[in-house]
Symmetry: C2
């Protein structure tokens, strides 16, 4: 464990805490007070740190993500879907017979093929309901721009996904989703700044 | 106040709480137990609800946003910048002589004109440092895709900004930033789903 701590830069006390919380699988016991940790432990430790420290996930949310990783479906698309399901924000389940109409209409307008019952679709539905509620509803030309932007980003992201094993794909999808959402959000604000400055100069 | 509650759909107790917390300016007193509220109060109430309930901001963060709105600079670009500064996530101040090198390199590669000392640039720098730390650094082809996507979105957003008064522009920028970040994040996940499903079918 001392070596795992040195390799990963994570303090021993923190590693013990992760073990207790089920965020890190136990090492292979080799003696009464010694266990062996391998490369998989180092990778898992790095992921857990990213989720908790950088992603700001709760321990419970991080545990759900890690469990998804350990039970990743063999199909990569399904595995990535499961990863998205495990990540925040939590989305409310639909009532019996309820459909995420706003999201389905948006997705149909964009011509995308998605599972209408997936978490992503429900998340989109909740976000679209929220913007409508504050009087800034998604209009067609806005949807077109947002849809193109999302597709441009998703295309690069999916092309970069390792296809060797579903577990690798899920790890990539999780880290990518958690870590790149803040990048995208920051870039959007900086882009707004650029456009506003250009406009100010032109006037 | 009863009428303001009816018009806005916000309970009287909640309105009183917002008044106490400085999130809503007091109405114009017309009698010992009566005050007049106008259209500006209804709009402000709607914004505060959006920030707290939908955006999930803390009362302190919402107060900072509202103060920005009340002291909006005359220049629209500067006003929107101030709005971004007031919004979460909080970004650490730079140490004396420290520069947000990663963000500045990214912005230079994209050819954007931004204020190197703005919150947006520091936010981008922190996000880029985080992805590098987990072993998924921003590579040039990825930056190009993300930059194009952010610009596509920012362009539509800025074109939609009301230019009548800085206060209107700031209100729009705040609501748009807080409310449309979740839309963009959800669309990105749904777009990933679409691309993955297409790939699965092709294989």
């Amino acid at each position: 464990m001392a070596e795992l701590s040195r390799t990963s830069g994570v303090p021993v006390a923190t590693i013990k805490y992760y073990l207790r919380e089920g965020l890190l699988p136990p090492g292979r016991s080799v003696a009464a007070t010694q266990a062996e940790y391998d490369e998989a432990h180092v990778r898992r430790l790095r992921l857990v740190r990213a989720l908790l420290v950088v992603g700001g996930l709760s321990v419970a949310a991080a545990r759900r993500v890690v469990e998804t990783l350990d039970e990743a479906p063999a199909d990569v698309a399904a595995a990535v879907g499961a990863a998205h399901d495990a990540l925040p924000p939590p989305v409310p389940a639909l009532a019996e017979g309820e459909r995420p109409e706003r999201a389905l209409a948006a997705v149909a307008a964009l011509g995308w093929d998605v599972d209408p019952e997936s978490t992503g679709v429900r998340q989109l539905d909740a976000a679209l309901a929220a913007v409508a509620e504050v009087g800034l509803p998604m209009r067609p030309e806005r949807l077109e721009a947002y849809g193109e932007a999302a597709m441009r980003v998703a295309d690069v992201e999916v092309r970069g996904t390792p296809t060797g094993s579903p577990a690798d794909a899920v790890q990539y999808a999780i880290v990518g989703t958690v870590m790149y959402e803040p990048v995208m959000a920051a870039l959007r604000r900086v882009a707004q700044q650029h456009v506003f400055r250009r406009f100010s100069r032109e006037q």
